[in-house]
């Protein structure tokens, strides 16, 4: 299972699927179609997605089943970070230039995200959009999609797999997967190695999507400004959705509060080089 059985590009990242035998065409087709269906709802980088429609027209929108756990997670992360994590931060991102066309040129002063209750009403998977709002599930959506792809593999009878979406991955069955944690700013070096065994690992780093003058894609929803203190995070949790969401939350939140709310381990790299991490991290950091 060391080398991937199949690799492809989707939702703007490189996917690799490792399984213990050949991956049949039917399973692969289900995987590709699962990803396409997710993208059709949640992508803010295409005009015809559901979230793109919500950003143009108020109304009542019925979302697929995955919206429930995803938006619940966002609500909890918002509470644990005093509002720093929000799925409504997209407008602030667009303001700074991280728009669908990647203009990467700020269009004005940073702008805080709107409060959820001011613009939206949610009942399960139904959203009532009172005024056009740009929903961005970028902090946890990719992780959730990794989980959903893993569920497709299990449904097709595959018990041992690794699903890797550009470094956000989930492992199930078979030997542990060793993952190097890349040093921020230096792709040739690693800060440590995580032994992933029946769990998910997601990371977030500001150097990967920076476009100058301290501008990058991890914004504090309360101010609309890029965060400055933490530069990279990794989280190991049971699901990739939770690991992904927490990897963003750890840029803002108090780690003890996050640890109390979610069962997980983490690594936080600060701008001054300090590293804070859970003792229970499955793996090692190089001292």
């Amino acid at each position: 299972m060391r080398t991937p059985e199949v690799s492809f590009d989707a939702i703007g990242t490189r996917w690799s699927i490792h399984v213990d035998g050949p991956l049949d065409v039917v399973t692969l087709a289900r995987v590709r179609s699962r990803i396409a269906a997710y993208d059709a709802v949640w992508s803010r980088f295409r005009d015809d997605s559901v979230v793109a429609r919500m950003s143009r027209e108020p109304g009542t929108y019925r979302l697929p089943a995955e919206a429930g756990p995803l938006l619940d997670l966002y609500a909890t992360l918002g509470r644990c970070t005093d509002g720093a994590v929000s799925p409504l931060v997209a407008r602030s991102l667009v303001r700074l230039g991280y728009d669908a066309g990647y203009s990467l040129r700020p269009a004005g002063e940073p702008e805080p995200a709107p409060a959820w209750d001011d613009v939206l009403e949610r009942d399960g998977c139904t959203l009532v959009v009172r005024e056009p709002v740009l929903l961005d599930v970028g902090a946890a959506g990719k992780g959730q999609l990794v989980d959903l792809v893993a569920a497709e593999l299990r449904d097709c009878g595959i018990e041992e797999y690794v699903v890797d979406a550009g470094g956000d991955l989930v492992h199930h069955g078979g030997a542990a997967f060793r993952v190097a944690l890349q040093q921020p700013g230096d792709p040739t070096r690693a800060l440590g190695v995580v032994e992933l065994d029946g769990a998910a690992l997601c990371g977030s780093a500001v150097d990967r999507r920076a476009w100058g003058d301290g501008l990058h894609h991890v914004l504090d929803a309360r101010t609309g400004r890029p965060t400055q203190d933490v530069v990279a995070t990794w989280v190991v949790a049971d699901t990739a959705m939770v690991a992904d969401g927490l990897s963003t939350a750890h840029f803002f939140g108090d780690p003890d509060r996050l640890e109390a709310a979610f069962d997980h381990t983490y690594v936080r790299v600060h701008a001054d080089g300090r590293v804070r991490y859970s003792l229970g991290l499955p793996g090692e950091l190089f001292g």
Binding site: T13, L104, Q182, L201, W211, D256, R274, R276
Partner: protein, 146 residues
């Protein structure tokens, strides 16, 4: 980057552990206070200086569920604390959780290693950024040089 002394003091006091700084070469740590450990240093000067090395101790304290212990290990280099390791030893689940959370508060110095020399299956953090993003960056760089 060196971890300043005060971090360590805050860490140790944070758990109310009565920890002794006993040299690892001297074997088992006694449960003295840190002050006494300073006094034990041979020919203690007015400004006590600690020899380089790793010092370990076990702190004991009274939790609501009974007595518990926690292991603390400190590495000194040129009088600076270069590393702190806390080993949870609690038997009570609640204490275990608190000790693990406390231990996770340790800020450490981490030195990157070349990935080339590591045996790993993949790398996290080096993921491809969206193609459009990368293309836009190239364009901006070109504009900047124009």
């Amino acid at each position: 980057m060196k971890t300043p002394h005060r971090t360590t003091i805050a860490l140790v006091s944070g758990v109310s552990a009565v920890a002794a700084l006993a040299s690892c070469s001297s074997g088992a740590a006694s449960q003295d206070t840190a002050d006494e450990a300073v006094a034990d240093t041979s020919a203690a000067p007015a400004e006590p200086e600690y020899a380089d090395g790793t010092y370990t101790a076990t702190g004991s304290y009274e939790s609501p569920a009974g007595p518990e212990t926690v292991g603390v290990s400190i590495t000194l280099e040129d009088g600076m604390v270069m590393g702190v390791e806390v080993t949870p030893e609690a038997t009570n689940p609640a204490s275990q959780k608190f000790q693990t959370q406390f231990a996770s508060g340790v800020a450490d110095v981490v030195m990157g290693k070349p990935i080339e020399g590591l045996t790993v299956d993949t790398v996290s953090g080096s993921s491809l950024t969206p193609d459009g993003f990368n293309a836009a960056l190239v364009e901006i760089a070109a504009d900047a040089h124009a």
